[in-house]
């Protein structure tokens, strides 16, 4: 076995270190979910990308402030942009016959080219925040038809309403409200702009104040107040402010949803409606068309605990009255309604888990009805909100497609009752992820454990029984052979098409369990393009806990879920997503003896503390406080599974530098903002001993300082602060390697001793074997937000540093030989050094596009990258999460233990056949010659 490993190591060290992706492997070994986040109700719509376009795109501004255009045909992202501002606050509007969409997020109003996502104009509002944004739908001589003007409501020191030119984004006029009321929303009618604010006296609820402004001059025309103080206690009670409808509406309710009051903006009358009386209403939603040309009809959706129903109302503009036209019956379960307008007609589409039906706003007759086929991914989920496009021909709806957000976080398009595509948008909130083994491997490991713990005879019987049981799969395996052979020969290996999770020969199939900030967990199969195997809501599992940053830990067959605001631990089965009670777990857990207790450590009140045992008790064994008032901003321990193939580094002259290998290394990052210092402390987590300390000055500590540690080296990255008169600028990558001694063939204080302990390192107490640290700093062109190291089964393959570059939307694998701290500085390498593969030190590392793991994909918003070993020594599995989900396989020393796609199996077979034919021809000739030779002697 050792020989085998050595041969592999030789093979690994012989090949060149730079391994890029092959073009025929790209898009096959990797997968990418380009996500946008959960779409919001009022910022998601179908829209033509340019006037006269036949097809339309779905535009959405998500909870994560991502503006995206989604192709309704296949669900692919056409373009997306990340906007500023706090999550869930952005606004997105578009007008008919426009080639732009206009967004407002934070203090920035921007128009984007609807077809390709390029910026048309941007207007930054200083310290003000955009509260509302509307487009003016009128012809008044001031606006031009091909770019409609926008009206924006800003909340700053005093609220302002601005009309922005649709072509340039410059303000045409500004109206300032100095009354001290809270700005709420804007609404427009063909002739007037209505500015709606909330006037809140000291006691009681809010009065709604409506100010009408002239769209041409921005002067105040009129002002009136609606006595809503009995109902409106907070902003959420105002349900709807009709934007750009033919009849702008203002609807509000009270705290218990007992009453619905509707006002036609511009008039003072308020109509009052009561919800269906049989059950308390949980939620009221108003749906109305946002086009000026549409009929002034609207739909009110009543959601109760057990079902939902709706009423349709008609507005009479001349009399300024609102009357109920008809009701849609109560259906059990949850559902939602969407609005579509075509010409003047308004259609409402009712979407429930089982059925989609379309009605016209003018009469209650159902125009079309499609049963929804059950989907496993949408099982037990209900529609939350959506948008629809309806085709109506001669009084009946011939086709409908609805893009629906389901309660399990899937954004799906249902075309005539059939699922066209779905996007797992809940994964955009991912905050942590962990690898889990497949069930088969888990059971095998368990069986082997059983055999290991019993006596020889019973273990043997157990083993024979297991093999007999395995025989039942033998016929199926035999049957699969011809298919597999053919598949292998003609290159279309079944790798890509494996549907269900099962173990493959190379161990590429693994599960990744992802937890999101919204309290959702999902299991993804990385072997089949990151498909979600299961998807659960933690709120249903633990109803009274609000999960915000769940942390995951993998154990045998289950996942431990912990959260800051949650005392206990949840155990989730890693293959099914089912909750496991803690009793079942303890049966599995091998009991640790007293001597095997471990030291756990964590950040407690700004200090790193080590505790005896797994629980954080009151009295720590050691405490680490950084000096000079520095604040610990993070710590990175050496990975638990980090095999080291060789304890030394063989130099060119065959001498050995011994690596400083300590499984308990922790790299602590501390920063001091006032002096712009970042310090790094290398600790031994079992004793709390400080092994090494480095300080960097003139560091921009407000930027991320990622770090990683593996084997006997660690690495971190910094941003140089420009405020200082530093001689250089940009970003730095520092790599340090630890050796036992600076002298080759020397093991330092450990040299003579048989055993060593990090707690009592040598005969003299307290004398710690300090590592000899070699480090080098390199300039890089981009900021690094996260870094990690590849992992392989035995650690023979050279490691690769994986860094996330947020500005290029890339994940890059930097080969270890490029960042070797032993690169000679200021001189060319000697022949011996060159034979080790060392090159002359250059202060700048050019990030080669060939190192990009993501090639043409653009991976946005990555928060973490995790790596895992595969069944092959050469290959490491990589999974990145954050906004996007990306996964691939990397082979830092090339795939030396598996045949790649470049190996032509047919050619090999043909060569064998040709050789065989050659032998058949040559054999008689040789035989004759031999006989002749015998006779001639």
């Amino acid at each position: 076995m050792r020989l085998h490993a050595r041969a592999l190591a030789l093979a690994a060290s012989l090949v060149l270190p730079c391994a890029a992706i092959f073009e025929d492997d790209a898009y096959h070994i990797d997968y990418h979910h380009a996500l946008a986040g959960l779409p919001k109700r009022d910022t998601t719509f179908f829209q033509q990308p340019f006037p006269g376009s036949k097809a339309s795109l779905i535009y959405t501004l998500s909870q994560k402030q991502i503006l995206a255009a989604v192709n309704p045909k296949d669900g692919a992202i056409v373009w997306r942009q990340s906007l500023s501002g706090p999550p869930g606050t952005g606004m997105l509007r578009s007008g008919e016959e426009q080639d732009t969409v206009i967004s407002a997020a934070g203090n920035s109003i921007a128009a984007w080219s609807a077809a390709d996502g390029r910026l048309v104009w941007e207007n930054t509002m200083g310290g003000a925040t955009a509260e509302d944004l509307e487009l003016l739908e009128q012809e008044d001589g001031m606006a031009n038809a091909d770019s409609k003007d926008a009206v924006v409501l800003l909340s700053g020191s005093s609220p302002e309403v601005q009309r922005l030119d649709g072509k340039t984004g410059r303000a045409k006029w500004t109206y300032t409200d100095s009354s001290g009321d809270t700005p709420f929303q804007l609404s427009t009618s063909p002739t007037t702009i209505f500015y709606i604010s909330l006037h809140t006296p000291m006691l009681g609820g809010s009065k709604i104040k409506v100010t009408s402004l002239s769209p041409i001059t921005g002067k105040k025309l009129d002002q009136y107040t609606l006595s809503s103080e009995g109902e409106v206690q907070s902003r959420e009670h105002i349900l709807f402010t009709g934007a750009n409808t033919a009849a702008p509406l203002l609807a509000w309710t009270d705290k218990l949803n007992k009453v619905l009051k509707v006002n036609i903006i511009g008039t003072k009358g308020v109509s009052t409606f009561a919800p269906p009386s049989n059950e308390p209403v949980q939620e009221i939603v108003l749906h109305a068309s946002n086009r000026v040309t549409s009929l002034p009809h609207f739909l009110v959706e009543w959601q109760t605990a057990t079902g939902h129903s709706a009423d349709v109302f008609h507005v009479d503009l001349k009399k300024a009255t609102i009357a109920k036209a008809y009701s849609l019956p109560v259906l059990a379960g949850k559902g939602t309604f969407t609005t579509t307008s075509s010409d003047a007609n308004v259609y409402f589409t009712r979407v429930t888990p089982d059925e989609i039906s379309v009605v016209s706003s003018s009469s209650h007759g159902i125009l079309g009805r499609w049963p929804v086929k059950a989907q496993s991914s949408l099982a037990a989920a209900h529609p939350v909100h959506g948008v629809s496009e309806v085709v109506v021909k001669s009084g009946s709806a011939s086709a409908v497609r609805s893009a629906i957000l389901y309660s399990n976080g899937q954004f799906a398009l249902i075309r005539n009752g059939e699922l066209a595509w779905e996007r797992p948008e809940f994964l955009a909130d991912a905050v942590s992820a962990a690898w889990a083994e497949l069930p088969e491997e888990e059971t095998l490991a368990h069986e082997l454990e059983v055999e290991g713990h019993s006596n020889i005879i019973s273990a043997y019987i157990h083993r024979v029984k297991r093999h007999i049981r395995d025989l039942e799969y033998f016929p199926a395996w035999l049957q699969s052979i011809p298919n597999r052979l053919l598949g292998n020969l003609f290159g279309n290996s079944q790798d890509d098409t494996i549907g269900d999770i099962q173990r493959d020969t190379f161990g590429f199939h693994k599960l990744v369990v992802v937890a999101t900030s919204s309290g959702r967990m999902a299991g993804l199969d990385v072997g089949s393009k990151g498909k979600a195997v299961w998807n659960i809501d933690l709120d249903q599992v633990a109803p009274d806990v609000a999960f915000t940053r769940p942390s995951l830990k993998t154990a045998h067959g289950y996942i431990e879920v912990k959260d800051r605001g949650f005392e206990g631990t949840l155990f989730i089965n890693s293959t099914t997503g089912a909750l496991i009670s803690s009793k079942d777990i303890e049966a599995h857990e091998p009991s640790l003896s007293e001597a095997q207790r471990l030291i756990a450590f964590d950040l407690v009140d700004g200090e790193l503390k080590g505790f005896l045992g797994a629980e954080l008790t009151l009295d720590p064994v050691w405490t680490f406080t950084p000096p000079n008032g520095e604040k610990i901003i993070g710590f990175t321990p050496r990975p638990i599974k980090d095999p080291v193939a060789s304890i030394g580094k063989v130099l060119g002259d065959r001498r050995v530098l011994y690596k400083y290998i300590n499984p308990n290394l922790v790299l602590v990052t501390a920063a001091l903002e006032s002096t712009r210092t970042a310090s790094f402390y290398l600790l031994d987590s079992s004793s709390g001993q400080l092994l090494h300390a480095i300080s960097h000055h003139d560091v921009d500590v407000t930027r991320p300082i990622p770090s990683t540690i593996s084997e006997n080296w660690f690495s971190y990255s910094l941003t140089i602060d420009s405020a200082a008169d530093s001689t250089s600028r940009g970003y730095q990558l520092v790599v340090a390697e630890l050796f036992e001694s600076a002298i080759p063939d020397d093991r330092g204080p450990l040299g003579a001793s048989e055993n060593s302990s990090t707690l009592q390192p040598s005969s003299a107490m307290g004398d710690v074997a300090m590592p000899y640290v070699l480090s080098q700093t390199y300039h890089i062109v981009e900021e690094i937000s996260h870094m990690t190291v590849t992992q392989t089964k035995q650690g023979i393959t050279t490691r690769e540093l994986l860094v996330t570059l947020p500005s290029s939307n890339a994940i890059v694998g930097i080969p270890r030989s490029i960042i070797d701290p032993r690169r000679p500085v200021g001189r060319d390498p000697t022949a011996l050094e060159a034979s080790e593969g060392l090159t002359k030190y250059t202060p700048f590392i050019f990030i080669d596009p060939k190192w990009h793991l993501n090639h043409k994909y653009e991976v946005m918003g990555i928060e973490g990258v995790i790596t895992s070993e595969s069944g092959l020594e050469s290959t490491s599995l990589v999974f990145a999460f954050g906004l996007d989900v990306f996964g691939t396989r990397v082979a830092p020393s090339f795939a030396f233990d598996v045949l790649g796609k470049g190996f032509n199996k047919i050619q090999m077979l043909l060569t064998v056949v040709a050789l065989f034919v050659g032998v058949l021809f040559v054999a008689p000739l040789v035989r004759r010659k031999q006989i002749n030779a015998l006779w001639t002697i």
Binding site: F22, S113, S807, E858, G902
Partner: protein, 244 residues
């Protein structure tokens, strides 16, 4: 063209702090209109970088840039750009007048060098300055897979060596036989002293047969004393024994 004029005009009219434009020129190889919309430019100095998105007119517009020295870079999926140093400063328009105006200066810069090591100037002026962002080249992400070709097979030094020795083995006897008697005698004389002849005695006069029986492996391993045919039974690589 109208749009870019317009942008400059709009820049000139807005108030306070520096504004400038990074523009990607339309080159013979590079068509900036085909760039993905994720292309953006950043200005880094201290704290979060200032980001500008690619506009329809292939520009990046920066507004409200406070005085300072910035590292400007353009990030594009398909192309690499030259990094720039952009300095924004407040300067008196006329000396002693007290009226200050923004001045923007741009240079090429080199990563891994001192910040003061500036390259060629890329522009200098007041608000609304247009600086050209130069494309350095396309990014190629993929590695070529080396397919099988007979030519690359022939380029292998081992194969070349084998071919050469084959030519020697099969070609030499015929050459020798076609020689005129005098040179042939001379050659045989030489052979007796030389490497090839050393393995043979006088009982094998036929040079062709002798050459055909020549043990290349044994010869390459430095074997000189033994007679040719009997060496076949031995290990072709005696050096391998020493290693174990």
């Amino acid at each position: 063209m109208r749009t870019s004029q317009y942008i400059i005009a709009s820049l000139a009219s807005a108030a306070s702090a520096a504004r400038f434009v990074l523009h990607i020129p339309n080159g013979p190889v590079v068509n900036p209109s085909t760039f993905p919309s994720s292309t953006h430019a950043t200005l880094q100095s201290s704290g979060p970088p200032i980001v500008a998105h690619l506009t329809r007119s292939n520009t990046f517009n920066f507004y409200n840039v406070t005085p300072g020295s910035y590292y400007a870079s353009v990030h594009c999926r398909d192309f690499a750009f030259e990094p720039l140093r952009i300095d924004v400063s407040l300067e008196e328009t006329v000396e002693g007048s007290g009226e200050k105006k923004e001045m923007i200066r741009a240079w090429q810069t080199f990563v891994g060098n001192e910040w003061d090591n500036k390259g060629e100037s890329k522009g200098e002026g007041g608000n609304g300055l247009v600086i050209e962002a130069k494309v350095m080249g396309g990014k190629s992400f993929f590695q070529e897979r080396e397919g099988f070709s007979p030519l690359s097979f022939l380029k292998n030094p081992m194969i070349l060596m084998a071919l050469f020795s084959m030519v020697l083995i099969f070609g030499m006897p015929y050459l020798v036989e076609n020689m005129d008697p005098e040179t042939k005698a001379e050659f045989e004389e030489m052979q007796k002293k030389g490497v090839l002849g050393s393995a043979t005695g006088s009982e094998r006069p036929n040079p062709a047969q002798q050459l055909q029986n020549f043990d290349l492996a044994a010869w390459m391993a430095g074997k000189t004393t033994d007679s040719g045919p009997s060496s076949r039974g031995q290990s072709p690589n005696p050096a391998s024994k020493k290693r174990t």
